[in-house]
C-alpha cells in the first residue's frame, strides 16, 4: 500500500508540477489585466516576466497567487550575481545548481519526465512484447523459431550500453526519441514472458473449446489466451517502469539522455558533476530517484504476490 501511495503521489506531483514550481503565478492581476493560470498557459504578454520581477513591479492594485516555489525548472536566478550553486535557503528551499536553477523546481518538473519516459517506454515495449510473444507462443513452428532467435540475439547485447550507443550515434536527443529507443530495445523480456504464459494457457481445454465453437485465431488469442496470460506482464511492467526511470536518469547524467532544455533528474546530477558535487544537487534528485524506484519495485512485488495463487491464501 505504501508503494501504491507513493506512486499516486508521484503522479500527482507530475500532473500538478506547474502549481508546485513555476516561473509565473497561478493567478495574476497585473496592470489592469487578469490572468488565470499563467503558470500553465504561459501567455505571450508575460514572456519577459517572472515571479521575482513581477513582485518588484507590482502597483497598488496588482496581486497574485504564487505557486509553492516561485521558480521554473529552466529559470536562472541571476540576482545572485553570476553562476554558482547556492545552498538551500528561504529563496531556494533545496538550493540551486551551478547556473542558478532551482533544484526543487527541477525535481518537481523532472518527475514529469521520469514518469512519462517510464510509462511510455514501458507501454511501448510491453505492447511489442505481447504481440511478438503471443504470436510465438500461439502459432509456434517457424514463427516461434524466428522470434526466439531474434530475442536471443537482442538479449546478447548489454541493454544499457546498447541504448547508450544508439543515443550517442543519433544526431540529436529528445525525450520522445529516448522513449522509443528504450521501447525498442527492452521488449525481449516481456516477449519471453508472454510466450511462456501463452504456451501454458493454450493447454487449457477452454482454448480448444473456443476453437471448437469456430472462433478465429484473433478472437481466441484476444478473448481467451491473453486475458489469462497477462498477470505476470503486469508485474514485469511495474518493475520495468522503475528500470526505465533509472535508464533515463543515467543517460541524462551521462549527457546523452534528454536534451539540455528538458528538466530531468539526470540533468541535475549531470550539472552537479561540473561544480564539485555540492551535496544538495546530488542528494535531493537521488532521493527522488530512490523513492520512485522503491515505490515501483514495491508495487511490482505486491502485484506478484497478488497474482501468485500459492500466496493468495496468506494475504487473505
Amino acid at each position: 500500500m505504501a508503494g501504491l501511495a507513493t506512486v499516486v503521489l508521484l503522479v500527482l506531483v507530475a500532473v500538478f508540477a506547474d502549481f508546485l514550481a513555476s516561473r509565473l503565478p497561478i493567478y495574476l492581476h497585473f496592470e489592469g489585466e487578469t490572468y488565470w493560470f499563467p503558470n500553465v498557459r504561459d501567455p505571450p504578454a508575460l514572456r519577459a516576466w517572472d515571479n521575482d520581477r513581477l513582485e518588484e513591479a507590482f502597483g497598488e492594485d496588482d496581486w497574485a497567487v504564487m505557486p509553492l516555489v516561485p521558480w521554473g525548472p529552466n529559470q536562472d536566478d541571476l540576482s545572485m550575481g553570476g553562476a554558482s550553486a547556492r545552498p538551500p535557503d528561504g529563496r531556494h528551499p533545496l538550493g540551486t545548481d551551478s547556473v542558478g536553477r532551482d533544484v526543487f523546481a527541477g525535481i518537481v518538473h523532472g518527475t514529469r519526465i521520469a514518469l512519462s519516459v517510464g510509462f511510455v517506454a514501458v507501454g511501448l515495449y510491453v505492447l511489442i512484447g505481447i504481440m511478438i510473444g503471443a504470436a510465438a507462443g500461439y502459432f509456434g513452428g517457424i514463427i516461434d523459431s524466428v522470434s526466439s532467435r531474434v530475442i536471443e540475439v537482442m538479449l546478447s547485447f548489454p541493454t544499457f550500453f546498447f541504448i547508450l550507443t544508439v543515443q550517442g550515434l543519433l544526431p540529436s536527443t529528445s525525450i520522445l526519441q529516448l522513449m522509443v529507443v528504450i521501447g525498442l530495445t527492452r521488449w525481449t523480456d516481456v516477449a519471453r514472458l508472454v510466450r511462456a504464459e501463452v504456451l501454458r494457457v493454450t493447454t487449457h481445454d477452454y482454448v480448444m473449446a473456443a476453437r471448437a465453437t469456430g472462433a478465429t485465431d484473433l478472437r481466441i488469442v484476444a478473448r481467451h489466451v491473453l486475458p489469462n496470460s497477462l498477470g505476470p506482464v503486469l508485474v514485469a511492467a511495474s518493475f520495468g517502469v522503475a528500470g526505465a526511470v533509472l535508464v533515463e536518469a543515467a543517460l541524462s547524467f551521462l549527457g546523452v539522455g534528454t536534451n539540455i532544455v528538458t528538466p530531468s533528474w539526470g540533468r541535475i546530477l549531470n550539472d552537479a558533476r561540473s561544480t564539485n558535487y555540492p551535496w544538495w544537487t546530488t542528494f535531493y534528485p537521488g532521493l527522488a530517484l530512490f523513492f520512485t524506484l522503491t515505490a515501483y519495485n514495491v508495487v511490482g512485488e505486491g502485484l506478484r504476490d497478488a497474482i501468485d495463487p500459492r500466496l493468495r491464501g496468506d494475504l487473505g
Partner: protein, 332 residues
C-alpha cells in the same frame, strides 16, 4: 473395407469416419528430424447415425480422446476421411471449417480447465451464438443464453457469475450449455463424467440422455466407465493401442464379448453384489508403446489365447462375426 468395418445403423450415417490416423512425430537431434511416430490413432473407421450414441472405451492412452478430437479437427488427422452429413470435414478450408464447426461440438472431461476463468457465464455460453450469428443484438443473445442454461438445469442467475463460483457438476452443465449453443447435431463427449462425483455423474448422464431425446443429438461417448457406456450407448467400440478391436451393439458386447481384451475389460467392472463369483481376467504387463507397437496383433504380448506363429506375425483385420458385431482377433 469401410463397409465391412462399420456396421451402419442407418443407410446414410450422420458421421462416417474412414481409416482415420493421427501420428504424432517425435523429433530429436540438432536439426529436429522426425525420428519416430506415436501412432495415437492408427486407422479407425466408425459410423455414427443421427440421434445415435456410440460408446468408445479403452484404457488410458489408447487414443480415444485423440480420435474424438481428430474427428472434429481440433487435432489435424494425419490420414483418413471424416464425412459429416455427406461432406468431407477433413477437406474443408480454414474459413469453411470455422463455419462448419457449429454442427459438431465437444464436451470436455475437466470442467475446471474447460471454462475460461475470466469470462462470465453469459459470455462463455453466448460466444458460439455470437460467432455463428444465431441471434443478433445483446438482448437476443442473452435470451438465448437463458434458454440454454434452463435446458441444462441452471437458472438465469448464473448469467453474470464467473466459473469459479460453481461446483464441478454445475461447471459441466455450463460446458454442455456451451456445446449446445451452436445448435449442433453431433457432440463428442470426451469423458464428461470422469472428474465428477458419482451422484453428479448420474445427473449429467440423465441430462445428456434427455437432451438427446429433445434435440435429436448424436453422441460419441468416450469413457472408461463401462457401466455408464452400456447404459447410454446403442453401440460400443473398444479401442486398444490406436485401433478398434471390437465393435458391437451394447447388448451383444456386454453379453458376448469376443475379443480377449474386451473380456478382460468387462471382467474388471465391479459387480454390485458382494457374493457374486466372477472370473477376473488379469492382464499381464503394460500397454506396449504406441511408438513401436508389437508386430502382428498388437494385443498378443498380453493375450492369454495368442497363438505363436499367427498372432505375433499377422495383424488381424476387423471381420464381422454376426450382424453388427465385428472383431479383430484371429481366435474369435
Amino acid at each position: 473395407m469401410a463397409d465391412e468395418n462399420a456396421p451402419t445403423a442407418t443407410p446414410e450415417p450422420l458421421v462416417r469416419v474412414v481409416g482415420l490416423k493421427k501420428h504424432f512425430p517425435l523429433r530429436s537431434g540438432f536439426f529436429s528430424r522426425r525420428t519416430a511416430f506415436v501412432r495415437a490413432v492408427d486407422g479407425v473407421s466408425l459410423d455414427i447415425g443421427a440421434s445415435e450414441t456410440v460408446g468408445l472405451v479403452g484404457e488410458s492412452g489408447c487414443g480415444k480422446s485423440t480420435f474424438g478430437r481428430a474427428i472434429l479437427r481440433l487435432i489435424e488427422p494425419t490420414a483418413g476421411t471424416v464425412h459429416f452429413d455427406g461432406r468431407d470435414v477433413v477437406a474443408l478450408g480454414a474459413r469453411e471449417l470455422r463455419r462448419f464447426r457449429r454442427h459438431m461440438q465437444i464436451i470436455f472431461q475437466d470442467p475446471y480447465s474447460s471454462l475460461n476463468p475470466r469470462m462470465k457465464v453469459k459470455d462463455i455460453v453466448g460466444e458460439p451464438v455470437r460467432i455463428h450469428g444465431l441471434a443478433s443484438g445483446r438482448r437476443a443473445v442473452d435470451d438465448e443464453v437463458v434458454a440454454l442454461l434452463e435446458k441444462v438445469g441452471l437458472g438465469s442467475s448464473a448469467m453474470t457469475r464467473y466459473p469459479h463460483e460453481f461446483s464441478g457438476g454445475q461447471r459441466q452443465r455450463i460446458g454442455v450449455a456451451r456445446a449446445l449453443a451452436a445448435r449442433p447435431r453431433f457432440i463428442v463427449a470426451d469423458e464428461p463424467l470422469s472428474a465428477l462425483d458419482v451422484s453428479i455423474q448420474a445427473q449429467i448422464v440423465n441430462l445428456l440422455k434427455d437432451l438427446q431425446e429433445e434435440l435429436g443429438l448424436a453422441y460419441l461417448f468416450i469413457a472408461h466407465d463401462l457401466k455408464i457406456v452400456e447404459y447410454l450407448s446403442r453401440r460400443v467400440a473398444v479401442m486398444y493401442l490406436g485401433k478398434v478391436v471390437e465393435l458391437a451393439s451394447s447388448q451383444d458386447l456386454y453379453k458376448d464379448p469376443l475379443h480377449p481384451y474386451t473380456r478382460a475389460l468387462l471382467s474388471a467392472v465391479p459387480v454390485p453384489s458382494p457374493g457374486a463369483k466372477r472370473a477376473r481376467i488379469l492382464l499381464a504387463g503394460d500397454v506396449p508403446s504406441p511408438i513401436r507397437p508389437p508386430p502382428g496383433c498388437s494385443f498378443h504380448p498380453r493375450c492369454s489365447i495368442a497363438e505363436k506363429g499367427l498372432c505375433d506375425k499377422e495383424a488381424p483385420a476387423l471381420r464381422p462375426i454376426s450382424t453388427g458385431h465385428v472383431v479383430a482377433c484371429h481366435k474369435a
